[in-house]
């Protein structure tokens, strides 16, 4: 299976508007490149307060949340997203244990992740794969 055929099989994420919450600048920049590569548009936040302020009228299709933001937990953002029915993905260096039990039903991506990991996760939260 080649990347090309694989890509042909993939559903398109183009035009999807994502909220990226990551405080590690290096990883954030990479993440931005990756989702940009998927054809997605995005907004970025490195702190909880910033992220929540972004959510209000941005019309996000989904969000990628790093769990720990400079010592602050991201769950307030997740709650706000849930309230609006916006799907989300957690990324964490701690693995599943890094997420509070009540949020574990969300898709969790362990750091470091590949673009394929991220893609799979986004597809899972945004809709079923089309063959």
């Amino acid at each position: 299976m080649t990347t090309k055929t694989q890509a042909a099989d993939l559903i398109s994420l183009t035009g999807r508007h994502l909220l990226l919450v990551e405080d590690e600048m290096m990883i954030a920049l990479d993440l931005a490149d990756v989702v940009g590569g998927f054809g997605c548009t995005f907004a970025m936040a490195g702190r909880v307060a910033k992220a929540i302020s972004l959510i209000a009228n941005a019309g996000f299709d989904a969000a990628v949340l790093d769990v720990n933001l400079a010592g602050e937990k991201v769950y307030a953002v997740a709650d706000e997203l849930n309230r609006l029915g916006i799907p989300l993905i957690f990324t964490t260096g701690y693995g599943e244990d890094g997420v509070l039990a009540q949020y574990r039903h969300h898709v969790i991506v362990s750091k470091p992740y590949t673009r394929i990991d991220l893609y799979g996760a986004l597809v899972r939260v945004l809709g079923p794969a089309r063959v």
Partner: protein, 1170 residues
């Protein structure tokens, strides 16, 4: 239960009387008696009132029956023994015991009689009484009452070795005892008796009389008449019937015919029945109307007729137990009351029944007194202990004696004879005789007082009727009166002799009649010259009765002429006991004189007949020719006649006159003799009275004696107990090996135990010596002082004293206590010595080891605590107190669970519970909570300490503070976790660097250089952080670090700012930003050419309470800046990324003079981790 019938539904009540020695008899009796016997026993004993009785205990050990001390109101139940308490009187009413305290004074105390009397009354035919050993006659009267009422009476057999003579003897002597048995056999007899009663109850009617008896009564009467010569035909049928029934009960014969057969076979049985019938009934003033008549017609008259010096003599024949005699005495006493010079009253009571007489003498009657008015009762009786005693003045009027109306001569010179309801039992012949006797006994003016169904009709000449209804009669002078025929027994005897001698020869009888014609006339006289026989024939010609009272006196009826000669002849004959022949002249009157030969000869040389002599007369005239030669010459002178005759006659006249004088003198003497005789009789009566008093005194003495014996026997028992206790005590003292010495107040030795000799050199001879004089091995000289102090304070003194040298000898514990006598009087001291050498050694060793242990515990680097099973602290060392932050006292009020963190206790408690079940010791890590709320981690090594019994008794915890250890552990864990996270994070960053480096790289070489440079920058900041253990890094260090690769010419850049400590996150981000800035400066900016300068400066200010860092990167002097179309990675990182990672604003300007970058960030208060 009907009184007559015993059906076994209630207990058979058995009264048992005993006293001294009774203990043995009681024991023996109850050993044989099975426990289930259906009987209730009541034990009555003579007890000292002041002396506690041990009887209950002593008997209790012999039987399984319930043995209790009797109490008032105790209901008699089967299979129980009730014992009389001391100083009490016991009676029974309707099967319930009644008790009165105190007992009456000793002389009036008859506890056994008292109880038996009430028993007889209460239980009637169903009563059983037993007299066991003891002194005195107590019980005899009660026994009689029991028998009278139809009960069974037993006495201990004389040969029984347990018995003391006295009571059983006395009881047996009354004849009222049905059976005399050894005490061992009584139990079986009683059981059989009870069975018989139950069986016989089937033959009885509701009155308790047998229904199959009447037809046999005639036969029984016949047998009695044959055997004892008494006809009981006139007895009331039921009386005889009940007596027979009782005998059958005693013999345990259930069929009447069998009883008859037994009577015929054994004359003794008939005698026994006869005795039974003798029991009479009497009461005071029986038939009051008759007594009233007696008072009016007789008593008053008699008193009136007597002068002060006179005596009124009354005979109460058949007085039974004396009620009648006392009644009459009371009548007389009442009548003479207030009279001056009243005549003296003497009342004789007599009865054939000696037991009745004993009772009459005692003058004691059971309450209530029948027939006595309350006035009389209070006046003439003294109530003693439920009985009444006749007043002394009445008692003294009466004298009682055993006397048979049938065989004994009557009393004489009486004024009144009372014989009531006696003669009704006699046949007519006997009645006549008795009446004649009474007539003889009474003098002129005498009265006879008979029972209501008796009379004198057949002897109307002897007595005239005074009051017909009341049967009072007066003596009549009568020609028909004769001397009493006594001894009357002779009739009975001759009857029997006649029967024995069989036929009299008729031939001999005829021959004698003819011969008597030729034999001389004679009379037989007794010693007193009373004629007892006249011969037939012409005895009359020698007799010439004198004028005056008719007499059988020989010398009153002999012709006067014969009297002198015969008088001297009779005297001679009686004295010499041989025949005397004398001649004399019989002057037959009318001048006729005939010579007579008188032969006087005693009837026998010896024996009773030797007092009788025969006086035979033979006319000398009728046989002159044949007996002429033998005739004495003096007699022949009478017929000589002539001158001599006149002289002789004169002489005779003189002699006669002198003889007459002599006779007169004799008569006077005789009168005097008679009066002396009377005096003697009165003396005799006085003596008799004294005798009675003595008898009473004797009874008292016996009763005292008995009590003394009882006390003695109990004392002996107690003595034996004391001996045993003494022995026990001695053995105890010897076996404990406690050396003991008893000292008196002056330190003299009273006694000591053998162990004492080892301490002080003591010998038996040292008793009484002061202990201070003796050589002692004790290293102690304060004894005297201590003893005195004990005697003063009465407190015990305890000292340790030594024998021998310090260390080598032994140690003794000496105790000095006051010696208290039984009466709690202090009389000296008791000194005891216990050898405590080994205890001392052990004690020292123990102290040593304890000291060592406590030193170890106190010094230990661990907390040590001991708790009980509930977890309560019992002991803890100082460190433990420190660990828990509480004092020892506080801890002792707490349990281990009280100071343990609640989260740790469940785990802890499971192990603790297991340990208590002999589980293994365990280690547990737990938290203690201190009073200030702080928590400390400890490692607790817990084990149980085995107690003396081998079971765990306490729990020991050794506690080490592991708080730091715990903290370190958790920190390490955290670090490990953090490390792994950080590595992952770092890898993610490296991955991003790798990804982000690639787009700008023109070649692999360029990519490698850019990637490595960035990696190295990251590594440098990491290095910085590592040196501070990731706690942070100084901003200056971070900047210098990044600028270091461009250090070729130091003059080209300046760093200026205060010391700011950055957290790891900020340090890493800034480090990376500085790296990109410096790399770009070196590539395109101020550091790319040969000239140019970079200035890095920062300030730290405070904004809204947060630290605000403002860092400014200013390049100058470099080539002019041309903003590239495409942002490089570095630029993107600074302008986009840095703001994400750090909380602040970034300005990145490409001024023509050089790049200028301003970074304004809020530093976090706490070092961030991500």
């Amino acid at each position: 239960m009907s009184k007559g019938i015993f059906d076994g539904s209630s207990p058979l009540v058995v009264g048992i009387g005993a006293s001294a020695g009774g203990l043995q008899a009681f024991k023996k009796f109850f050993v044989e008696m099975p426990a289930e016997n259906g009987m209730a026993f009541v034990l009555v004993q003579h007890l000292d009132p002041a002396h506690e009785s041990l009887l209950v205990n002593l008997i209790g050990s012999q039987t399984k029956m319930r043995v209790v001390e009797a109490w008032d109101g105790a209901k008699l139940v089967a299979n129980s023994i009730f014992v009389i308490p001391p100083d009490a009187t016991l009676t029974i009413e309707s099967g319930v015991l009644r008790m009165r305290k105190p007992a009456p004074p000793r002389e009036l105390r008859h506890p056994i009689d008292t109880f038996f009397l009430s028993l007889a009354e209460d239980q009637g035919p169903n009563a059983v009484c037993i007299v066991l050993s003891g002194m005195g006659s107590d019980g005899s009267i009660g026994l009689k009452a029991v028998k009278e009422n139809g009960g069974l009476t037993l006495a201990q057999a004389e040969f029984d070795h347990h018995a003391m003579s006295g009571m059983p003897d006395s009881a047996a002597a009354t004849g009222q005892v049905d059976l005399v048995l050894p005490v061992e056999s009584m139990a079986a007899r009683l059981i059989a008796h009870r069975a018989y009663l139950i069986e016989a109850s089937q033959h009885k009617d509701t009155n308790g009389e047998r229904t199959d008896m009447a037809e046999h009564l005639t036969v029984i009467s016949e047998i009695l008449k044959r055997a004892v010569g008494q006809d009981f035909g006139q007895y009331k049928e039921s009386t005889v019937l009940r007596r027979v029934q009782r005998r059958m009960q005693v013999l345990q014969i259930s069929s009447v015919s069998e009883f008859i057969a037994r009577m015929e076979k054994e004359p003794r049985e008939a005698e026994a029945l006869f005795r039974e019938i003798l029991i009479g009934v009497t009461q005071f003033f029986r038939d009051p109307a008759a007594f009233e008549a007696l008072r009016k017609d007789v008593v008053n008259k008699l008193i009136a007729s007597k002068t002060p010096g006179d005596q009124i003599r009354v005979w109460v024949a058949g007085c039974a137990t004396g009620e009648e005699a006392y009644s009459i005495a009371m009548l007389f006493r009442e009548a003479t009351e207030g009279l001056k010079d009243a005549p003296r009253i003497q009342i004789f009571g007599s009865d054939i029944d000696d037991r009745a007489i004993v009772r009459a003498r005692s003058g004691r009657f059971r309450a209530p007194l029948q027939g006595v008015s309350p006035e009389r009762q209070s006046k003439w009786f003294v109530a003693v202990d439920g009985e009444f005693c006749v007043a002394k003045e009445i008692r003294e009027m009466c004298v009682f004696s055993t006397h048979s109306l049938i065989k004994d001569p009557p009393f004489s010179k009486l004024d009144l004879v009372s014989c009531r309801n006696v003669m009704i039992y006699f046949d007519r012949v006997l009645q006549d005789r008795v009446l004649h006797n009474f007539h003889y006994a009474l003098g002129p003016g005498g009265f006879l007082f008979l029972g209501s169904s008796e009379g004198v009709t057949r002897n109307a000449t002897l007595f005239s009727t005074v009051d017909k209804k009341c049967r009072i009669f007066e003596w009549c002078r009568t020609a028909g009166a004769s001397l009493p025929e006594f001894p009357l027994l002779a009739t009975g005897r001759s009857k029997r002799e006649a029967a024995g001698s069989g036929l009299e020869d008729p031939i001999e009888k005829c021959a004698q009649r003819i011969v008597s014609r030729f034999s001389p006339a004679y009379v037989v006289v007794d010693r007193n010259f009373q004629v007892v026989r006249f011969s037939g024939g012409d005895v009359g010609q020698y007799l010439e009765p004198s004028a005056g009272v008719a007499s059988l006196d020989l010398f009153s009826i002999l012709r006067k002429s014969l009297r002198p000669t015969i008088r001297s002849a009779v005297r001679l004959a009686l004295r010499k006991r041989e025949a005397v022949v004398s001649d004399c002249i019989n002057d037959i009157g009318g001048g006729k004189k005939r010579p007579v030969v008188v032969v006087v000869e005693p009837l026998a040389k010896e024996g009773p007949e030797s007092d009788l002599c025969l006086v035979a007369f033979r006319d000398a005239a009728g046989s002159t020719s044949s007996n002429g030669a033998a005739r004495p010459a003096s007699v022949n002178d009478a017929v000589v006649g002539g001158s001599q005759l006149a002289e002789l006659e004169r002489e005779l006249a003189v002699a006669k006159s002198s003889l007459r004088e002599a006779v007169d003198e004799l008569e006077t003497t005789s009168e005097e003799m008679k009066s002396s005789n009377e005096e003697f009789q009165s003396v005799n009566e006085e003596l008799q009275a004294s005798n009675e008093e003595l008898e009473t005194a004797k009874e008292e003495m016996q009763s005292i004696n008995e009590e003394l014996r009882t006390v003695n026997s109990e004392m002996q028992d107690k003595n034996a107990q004391l001996m045993r206790l003494n022995g026990d005590l001695r053995n105890l003292l010897d076996s404990t090996q406690i050396a003991t010495i008893f000292l008196d107040r002056d330190l003299r030795i009273k006694s000591f135990t053998p162990g004492m000799t080892e301490l002080i050199h003591l010998r038996e001879s040292d008793l009484g010596r002061p202990v201070t004089e003796l050589v002692s091995r004790l290293n102690y000289d304060g004894l005297e002082q201590d003893v005195k102090s004990v005697l003063v304070t009465l407190d015990m003194i305890e000292r340790e004293v030594r024998i021998g040298n310090e260390g080598a000898g032994s140690v003794l514990l000496m105790r000095i206590r006051p010696y208290r006598t039984v009466k709690n009087v202090v009389d000296g001291v008791v000194v005891t010595f216990f050898d405590i050498t080994s205890q001392k050694l052990l004690e020292n060793a123990l102290t040593e080891s304890e000291r060592r242990l406590s030193a170890i515990i106190n010094q230990a680097a661990a907390g040590v605590a001991e708790t009980d099973f509930k977890g309560t602290f019992t002991l803890c060392n100082p460190l433990f107190c420190r660990l828990t932050g509480r004092t020892k006292t506080e801890l002792k009020a707490l349990r281990i669970q009280d100071i343990t963190h609640p989260g740790d206790w469940p785990r802890y408690s499971i192990l603790f519970e297991q340990l208590l079940k002999d589980g293994p010791g365990f280690d547990v890590d737990a938290r203690y909570i201190r009073p200030d709320g702080s928590v400390i981690w400890v490692r607790n090594s817990v084990s149980s300490i085995a107690g003396a019994a081998g079971h765990a008794s306490r729990v020991l915890s050794v506690v080490v503070d592991i708080t730091e250890h715990k903290f370190a552990e958790s920190h390490r864990e955290l670090l490990l976790h953090e490390l792994s996270h950080r590595v992952k994070n770092t890898l993610a960053i490296v991955q991003s660097i790798a990804m982000q480096t690639s787009p700008g790289a023109t070649s692999v070489e360029a990519y490698r250089a850019a990637f490595l440079s960035r990696l190295m920058s990251l590594a440098r900041t990491h290095n910085l952080l590592q040196t501070s253990d990731w706690q942070g890094a100084l901003l200056r260090d971070v900047v210098m670090c990044e600028l270091a690769p461009f250090k070729t010419d130091a003059l080209r850049w300046t760093v200026d700012g205060t010391d700011v400590l950055l957290d790891a996150n900020t340090a890493l981000a800034l480090g990376m930003a500085i790296h990109e800035l410096s790399t770009n400066a070196a590539k395109y900016g101020a550091l790319s050419g040969s000239v140019g300068h970079v200035a890095v400066g920062w300030t730290l200010t405070s904004c809204d309470g947060r630290r605000l860092l403002k860092l400014v990167w200013t390049e100058s002097g470099g080539p002019s800046v041309v903003a590239s179309r495409r942002k490089g990675f570095g630029t993107r990182l600074i302008s986009e990324g840095l703001a994400l990672q750090l909380d602040g604003k970034i300005r990145h300007e490409f001024e023509p003079s050089g790049v200028e970058c301003t970074i304004e960030i809020f530093l976090p208060d706490v070092a961030g981790r991500e």
